[in-house]
């Protein structure tokens, strides 16, 4: 990194330091959710949601329909690492479930389905 790089406005980052909303935690409470793992609200409410912060509630509201972690971070305009910690909290409380994404280059069916999809574009 060059020392004379200038970060202005958005580039300089938010006014609230990013990990303030996670109370300083940079790691989720359980297993880390993958970049394209799909998060979906478990449909529970009230009791388990007590004590959640506004960002928790924002994310919970967004994953009423299944949402990949990267989409959540992009649409909530929060850093990925922060969203991962917050989603971990929601998961721990049973408010969301996380479905791991498909098996990558080792899964022939997945490869075929993406190939067919691309060819039909």
């Amino acid at each position: 990194m060059t020392g004379d790089e200038l970060w202005l406005d958005r580039e300089a980052g938010p006014v609230v330091r990013p990990y303030a909303v996670t109370r300083g935690r940079t790691r989720p409470p359980g297993m880390a959710v993958g970049l394209i793992d799909v998060v979906v609200s478990a449909g529970r409410h009230s009791a388990q949601a007590r004590g959640l912060g506004p960002e928790h509630r924002l994310l919970l509201g967004m994953c009423g329909a299944p949402m990949a972690l990267a989409d959540l971070a992009s649409e909530a305009d929060l850093p990925l690492g922060v969203v991962r910690v917050l989603v971990g909290d929601l998961q721990e409380r049973g408010l969301v479930t996380v479905v791991a994404s498909a098996g990558g280059s080792q899964d022939e069916q997945v490869l075929r389905s993406v190939l067919d999809g691309l060819r039909a574009l």
Binding site: M1, G3, G13, P18, Y19, T26, R27, G34, L35, I36, D37, V38, V40, S41, A42, G43, H45, R57, L58, L60, G61, M62, C63, G64, A65, P66, A68, A70, D71, A73, S74, E75, P79, L80, G81, V82, L95, T97, V99, A100, S101, A102, G103, G104, S105, Q106, E108, V110, L111, R112, S113, V114, L115, D116, G117, L118, R119, A120, L121
Partner: protein, 199 residues
Amino acid sequence: MVYGRSERPTGLAPPPVVTKILVAGGFGVGKTTLVGSISEVRPLRTEEDLSELGIGVDDTTSVEHKRTTTVAMDFGRITFPSGAVLYLFGTPGQERFWFMWDELAFGALAAVVLADTRRLGDCFSSIDYFERRDTPFVVAANQFDGSPVYDSADIRDALDVDSDVPVLACDARRRESVKEVLIASVAHALTRHQAGARR
């Protein structure tokens, strides 16, 4: 702020097919252009704790007091009629962001190494990375206006990639061209997978 309702039965839904392809290459080679030609591009930023992630990877000598670093990336999403979803992630170009690559590459179907024939050396590190990780990849030489046109064999020789790695020319601004590159990358992953299964 309106919060959506979150009551929705989800227990019966089949697991979604959600996949990703990485788009790597040097700074300014056209990764964002490529992603934007075939999907809507959206911003993604991460704020990573260097003290945990960057040890031995990030050169922090000039940023001793900075504990976190911001990485801004772009990504795109293609949803197929079948419901399957393909994400395209452009890898952050600068070497100080290497620590992001493992996460991006984990579980990826394939990778595209975008090359600029005027600065081929810029994509060596991407090629090394995918070779070491055994991630199937193709090399796509982005044709810039006024840049010399080489044939694929010459580019392959210059990059010294394995003979089975597809090398093709592309125009990252053209959707059809990008589509061909993505098809080549997944087809290559499938061929490799099948060859591996036969062994």
